[in-house]
Point group: C2
Amino acid sequence: MSTLEHEMLEIGRRARIAANALRLASGDQRTAALHAIAQRLRARAKAIAAANEADVAAAQRNGLDEALVDRLNLDLAGATALAESVATIAAQPDPVGAITEDWTRPNGLRIQRVRTPIGVIGMIFESRPNVAADAGALALRSGNAVILRGGSDSAATVAAIVEELRTALNETGLPQDAIQLVPTQDRAAVGLMLAGLNGAIDVLIPRGGKSLVTRVQSEARVPVFAHLEGICHTYVHRAADSAKAKAIVINAKMRRVAVCGATETLLIDKTIAPQLLPQISAALREAGCELRGDEAARAITSVNAATEEDWRTEYLAPVLSVRVVTGIEQAIEHIARYGSQHTESIITEDADTAARFLREVDSAIVLHNASTQFADGGEFGFGGEIGIATGRLHARGPVGAEQLTTFKYVIHGDGQIRP
Amino acid sequence: MSTLEHEMLEIGRRARIAANALRLASGDQRTAALHAIAQRLRARAKAIAAANEADVAAAQRNGLDEALVDRLNLDLAGATALAESVATIAAQPDPVGAITEDWTRPNGLRIQRVRTPIGVIGMIFESRPNVAADAGALALRSGNAVILRGGSDSAATVAAIVEELRTALNETGLPQDAIQLVPTQDRAAVGLMLAGLNGAIDVLIPRGGKSLVTRVQSEARVPVFAHLEGICHTYVHRAADSAKAKAIVINAKMRRVAVCGATETLLIDKTIAPQLLPQISAALREAGCELRGDEAARAITSVNAATEEDWRTEYLAPVLSVRVVTGIEQAIEHIARYGSQHTESIITEDADTAARFLREVDSAIVLHNASTQFADGGEFGFGGEIGIATGRLHARGPVGAEQLTTFKYVIHGDGQIRP
């Protein structure tokens, strides 16, 4: 066994022991630890921002591209925001121990379904250092241990953050190893995590670019909560309110173009397109967005031509593909064919059509008359998110503390035997 | 591509198309199909029993061991019971479309969490032919398509059953391919299912012996709901009621010894063992059960010696290992070390001790003063079960229609954009 393998298995072993202790800790104790974490992050925001300055300077020296440096950046305000984010998670209801179902059988057996922690979460992420604080806090809120593996660019910032989390755990009498950071940037460490560290990891959550998520999804030997991409659609139905449609499309595309909930394709009914598409197109262009349309769209407004590839592309940039459709059926078909089962919205004043769209579109999140950029754990009221999942099992959509739990059946009897 | 591979991928493709249709079918339509299935199974019970006679005769000719022939057996009463089982599942509430959470955000967005079908279930099972009817019915109740792969021993019986299920689907206007049977016994077909049939299978459920489940768990490239074994414990606490303890232990072990919920190890407090263990031991021996005890147990009652291996063994036979423990801590420790996270029961009149056991034992099912043999979907009121899961993600314990669903978030807005 290599030194690295030995070291990683040891991290897994310690995480499992911490998870067992955490599973039995009270909700109050975990809440106290979350408040202690928020307090320490607030008190130490300057030191964290200083560590981040070093990361950013190194990234610039290494010629990292601007967008990546931007993701990495955590100034004093950002470092302070970490604390607020943890405080919000601390205020969330404790999911552990919640009874979600409760029934009594004819023989008198009372059966309860009770939420319990999953166990150990393996978190593999890239540049954004705030993921360390959010993931640590959400894992703790849900009674799970977490093993964090950050990217090399943000290594100093993440180490500074995790140091505070662990100190706060220690201060409140919880095991430090409930939150561990993989101390090496050796890529083989990721391979070992994907293999599950000898059964020590119950679920993996990758956060980062497509190549990271693809690798995790294809090689992991344990379950994965993830989304590979967010090819989100906004569909403007013929009965749409024009003002709402315009405001929502612009927000859905341009509020932030690099988030997974940004709309990448606009579908618009052919009966409303001649009147509405030119307005939307003008507003988007004014905001700096390039449009790529199908033939029908180009007959209405002067935009670049979309190719087949455009329908399959998550731009994460100020680019929007536009297709004119004959109606809801074609819109739903397009989404089923090209979408990533992430988030889709319909804009219409017709309640029946909206109901049909919400029912038939098979995505993690479907919206009526609202921006796809609401695809976010904070906006759902989860106090944050550890990731967004487009898989169909266990977790789906924004993953907050509740989706980081499993359950057990607790049965209360009085001597029942089975006939 | 081999002919087999082509054929299997085609089955997967058809299952996915059927799943999409089924997802949009109404609950009433699926209920009608379930009633039609029950009716056909009832009407054709004789033909199914006749097909089974052929399977049984062939098995006997091939010298299959008696226990396996017994599992295979489906006489006229058994064939009729299939129909009753399906009728029970038809009467279960439709999980699809159920709103499990519903809240409104400060910005007016109303978020609902709605149950939806998973998609396509791959079911790999061995001798028991009734699995085909139960799995088909539970998949249909939950809006999923299913691909069934039975064992060679029960091939004729399973084919006869599936024929009726498909005819009933057809009669009620649902796609026949919502329930498909792999028509070959070529073992490579299983390998192709484990690889997911090109993304056509969302989850695999193996039902059968340890070697089948081990293979599925280690080779599957898609999620698996399963239990490898049920090493279930009954713990008799010092404050146990003697009569309840005796009745429950005997039932938990001997009602049926070959089910996964059968107790394999008895843990008993040292303060109560001298008085109670001889009675339990005498009753079990009278019922034909062999006991294997640790040293302390053997000092109290004359039984064979248990080895370390016994604590790790799922006998599925009239054998019970017995260990005398110092108290609840040692009992919980023993279960954590040797158990399979399936089902464990505590017998005590002390409510605090019971609560501690129910909280600290990390198994899919924990019981107080009841037999471990209640680990069964029918006994839970699920109308049946497609399997029992000891994994921690998505499904746990008896898997009925509800656990065969996933969910989506449906968001109702009125023009909201994200600031």
